[in-house]
Amino acid sequence: MKTIKTFLLMLFIAFSNLAFAANPSVPQEGGKQYAEVIKGNDTLMVNPMNKNLYGGPEVEAIKNWGIHSPNAVGWGNIFTILQGNYFSTIFAIIVILVPLAFLTHFMVVGQKKFEHGKKIRVFSNYNIIVHWCAAVPFVVLCLTGLVMIFGDKLGGGSFVRFARDVHGIATILFVIFGVLMFLMWIKHALFRAYDIQWLMIMGGYLSKEKKPVPAGKFNAGQKMWFWVCTVGGFIMAISGAYMYFQFADIETLRMMALLHNVLGFLVIALLITHIYMAVFAIEGALNSIIDGHMGEEEIAILHSYYYKEINAA
């Protein structure tokens, strides 16, 4: 055993001497110094700039920046037009008009009320915790995102920069619990044939009638929201990471920025919808995700297929 070790050591020394001999400019007194010189060179060599972003590829990208560019249509011009003229306006319209539409709904159709006699447990504690641990960062993400979008109205500077940092940190939390939420509810969120019926009657929200609505544990609206907020949320996180770390070429970064904004419209519009439905549209609906219980009548009407399932079991 010992001889093998000595042999290996000798072999190592022989080879390292060979390496020194091959590079006469490097001081040869000892391995340590050699290592330091090489490492020093490395740090000088490393280009901290993203080579895909700055340099040759970037100059090439100039030729296809615009809509009328000689080589190809690039995203630079499109991004400039959309971000410069439309994005913040569209976000403003969404945050004003969507709540306004629901306010009208609230005043015309009104709240759905159900008897709160018998309660059935529909969500476990695990469901509740994961939901809220994903929901809180999600809301924070939307709010800080809006702060950045309307940064000029808020004066920019340290406050908006703070919002940007919070946006980044909240992403980490959302991704962790978003994955758990995705796994926990994916089975219930798969679309079924009866969801089409739900969509045709708009979930019964346009009338005051109490007629059983075709829906499982989640109705078609909730299912849409589930997919937008999980899959959409992950796409938001990925495109955001691209923008944050800048680890791609400029055209990819531009596409990511466009994607991030366009998905942002959908996410914010649906978040407002989700909050309205949970807090205002149905009396006491919020309780189901706070204590896990839902009134029997509410299930029977709004989640009629789920009600049948429970009763069959």
Binding site: V59, Q83, D152
Partner: protein, 208 residues
Amino acid sequence: MSNTTNILDNFSRIKFYCDTNRCIECHGCDVACKEAHHLPVGVNRRRVVVLNEGQVGKESAVSIACMHCSDAPCAQVCPVDCFYIRADGIVLHDKKTCIGCAYCLYACPFGAPQFPKNGVFESRGSMDKCTFCAGGPEETNSKEEYELYGQNRIAEGKVPMCASMCSTKALLAGSSEEVANIITHRATMRGENIPNAVPNVWKTAYGN
């Protein structure tokens, strides 16, 4: 100052032009810029880029930085509106307002905006770009302006550092009229067709 007034009288804006017939890729301009403004590692306001490297007859080098566009795309997309364009055409921005979102980079055709990494999460600091050596919104020639934006050579009556350092005078900086005159002269001397030699891309790249 009188210079600026002259430029404005001629309705002329400042321009950069890199004569690729002359640029020898010595990196004098980008090093001079980094040195003059004490730019941190990773921030290169000016870059020299070689195209078609090694292909005989096709290789050329070009020095690029902020081109100070008249309809600057960066200024259009900035969510906190921190850009301002001076009367002489220099495009500047306010680092204290900037949030480092990099939208200006996505809009810029020339890759001018630079982002120093700082903080624990490698988050981006305020954007940094070529100022045409004209500082920023802080008081002219103040210590603060120097720290944030580097030397204000325009206020001192000097030519931008990069152009003044250019050994072959490939990199030209000045009013569009002056720059165009020099290029026209050079082309005439070489016996070239003038409309071909004068940077015909200006219209599309800059307007005016």
